[in-house]
Amino acid sequence: MIPKKKRTRLLSFLFLLLIAGLYVSLVKGSVKTNFVDLWNFLIHSDQTHAQIFIHLRLSRALLAFLVGASLSLSGAILQGYFQNPMAGPFVVGVSSGASFGAVLALILGLNMSFWGFSLQNVWAFASGFAIVSLVYILSQRRGVFKMETLLLTGIAAGALASSLTSFLIFFKSESFEQAVFWLLGSFQLADWNHIRVIFPIFILCFLISQWLAKDMNLLVMGDEIAQSLGCSVNQTRKIFLIVSTLLASSSVSVSGIIGFVGLIIPHWVRLLIGPDHRYLFFSSSIMGGVFLMFCDFLARTIFSGSELPIGIITAAVGAPFFIYLLNQRR
């Protein structure tokens, strides 16, 4: 069906984009630097540039990559899981739920951390998981799964979680900045500690989903068929739900809610290379990472002197392109 050549082409293209993205993220910024500065830094390692290159730009670019990869992997899993291209961490309510948990932990003062893994992440995961389970249970009617119900319940539950988050911020927060962070997302204060939190989670989830990708291919054909082909449906479903929630909630707890990535990237990749999850998971991750890295680069460089919340960029860049893509396919 989909020739191997096409996949290789996409992956090598993405790899080139990744290198280019890392390069521009490192070289461009509000402090004027160029390739020579970067080179000098690598050779002579002077202190000021070390901070700018390593602690500000590199950590930020890598964090954007990891969050983008996590969100679109989470989206790819959810789209397979619910057999619906409209699913995504934001649509089924995971993101909003996780953001509510994170803000609640922050306000209750429960944000202590052990080995870089903070209790806030646990809260984000717990409430994200609670929301998605609720949505799942509510959208089943006598054992029959209804897609419209799923999407509507997801949107409603997400809106409820968002409103609770806004409520907490409105009454308890020290500043408006927090509202912008938790509701629109930002990498402005990215640092290596965030990467330490999200990197192991991403790798773990990625390996698990890659390992179970074959089973996902079966699940898409319907639970009975999957069962008859030797896949333990219930267990696999549980694992996938946990993995996708973990991915989305860990991203939210380091960067706030970033919409659109988890919805459009997996969809886009599926249009390009077909529905085989063995390749879909991997390519979505890379594509999502590169996409968000570029979006963050734009967010911090478009206007000198002030930054745009990244959610504005992801939607502004993503949506028109997505619509174009959908129309082309028709």
Partner: protein
């Protein structure tokens, strides 16, 4: 063991007493309002301010030449506008800050905590100050800034001078017995006002007025229009950057807001107060205090001019 101690003990004692002399200049250890300890050797030479009121205080302490960066909101004094802009209060540009190589960054608790933590994790010398909620807390703010910049004398003089201004105005008000009801209008037409734990609330109290939103437990709040009619304030004080904005808000109050029944609207007691003056707990807050006192109690100021 004993003999070693016998010989070294006096030497140790001597060292202990000579210590400051040996080091030459004193090393200052000061805790900031987040509880973090800072050690200062020689006076800071490259200062970045993360708030307009801090910038105003630094200028008033004669530190003009030591300031290397201010926020985009720092517009006073005029010379502050010629300094490097490092971005906003909640979204400063970290790259620019690092590139300027500051040896002191003065932040306040209006800068988000996440931001302050990030600056600290980059090993930047951030000194965080609590602003307080009373007029007099400005004095301790000035003294703390004087201490970390090693301008204690200048700070002392400034405080004495400002305290003189404060007392002068207070003196005018000392025979005032009635406290008119005041509604402070913060931004434009939204009926945003300041509650209990705000600086403005203390300003109104000091100016012998009653803030009708003074019981609202939050610092900032969106006031209810029915409640406004019910409370019936004698004065509405509109904070605005420029007179044009004030006139717009005033027109709204008089013509569109359906508040004709309010005393302040009926008697045309809708006044203008410069937003920058009032909202920045710095040296100019006492000017704002004087202006507000004149608005609320014009008769107490009749004999000067």
């Amino acid at each position: 063991m004993n003999t070693i101690f016998k010989y070294t003990a006096p030497a140790l004692c001597l060292l202990f007493f000579l210590n400051p002399a040996i080091i030459g200049n004193q090393r200052l250890t000061i805790k900031d309002d987040l509880g973090d300890t800072h050690v200062f050797g020689s006076p800071p030479q490259r200062i970045i301010s993360l708030a307009p009121n801090v910038t105003e205080i630094l200028f008033a302490l004669g530190l003009e030449n030591k300031i290397i960066g201010v926020t985009r909101y720092c517009n006073h004094p005029k010379k502050a506008q010629t300094k490097n802009r490092i971005g906003g209060i909640v979204d400063p540009d970290l790259e620019k800050i690092i590139d300027l190589r500051p040896d002191l960054i003065i932040a306040f608790r209006g800068n988000p905590l996440r931001l302050i933590k990030r600056l600290k994790s980059l090993d930047l010398p951030v000194f965080v100050l609590e602003i307080g909620t009373t007029l007099e807390s400005v004095f301790s703010l000035i003294q703390r800034i004087g201490l970390v910049t090693q301008r204690e004398n200048a700070a002392k003089d400034l405080v004495a001078h400002l305290n003189g201004d404060l007392e002068k105005t207070r003196d005018r008000l000392k025979n005032v017995r009635t406290r008119p009801k005041v509604f402070i209008n913060l931004h434009g037409k939204g009926l945003w006002t300041c509650g209990k734990n705000s600086f403005m609330n203390d300003l109104v109290r000091e100016a012998k007025g009653t803030n009708i939103a003074g019981e609202v437990p939050r610092a900032w709040s969106n006031y209810n229009r029915e409640e406004l009619i019910h409370q019936n304030p004698d004065h509405i004080v509109v904070l605005a950057k420029i007179e044009k904005d004030y006139l717009e808000v005033k027109t709204w109050f008089v013509e569109e807001a359906h508040l004709e029944s309010i005393h302040a609207v009926q008697k045309d007691k809708i006044s203008f107060l410069n937003e920058d003056l009032v909202t920045r707990p710095g040296p100019r807050i006492f000017e704002a205090f004087d202006q507000l006192a004149r608005i609320l109690h014009p008769s107490s100021f009749e004999d000067d001019k």
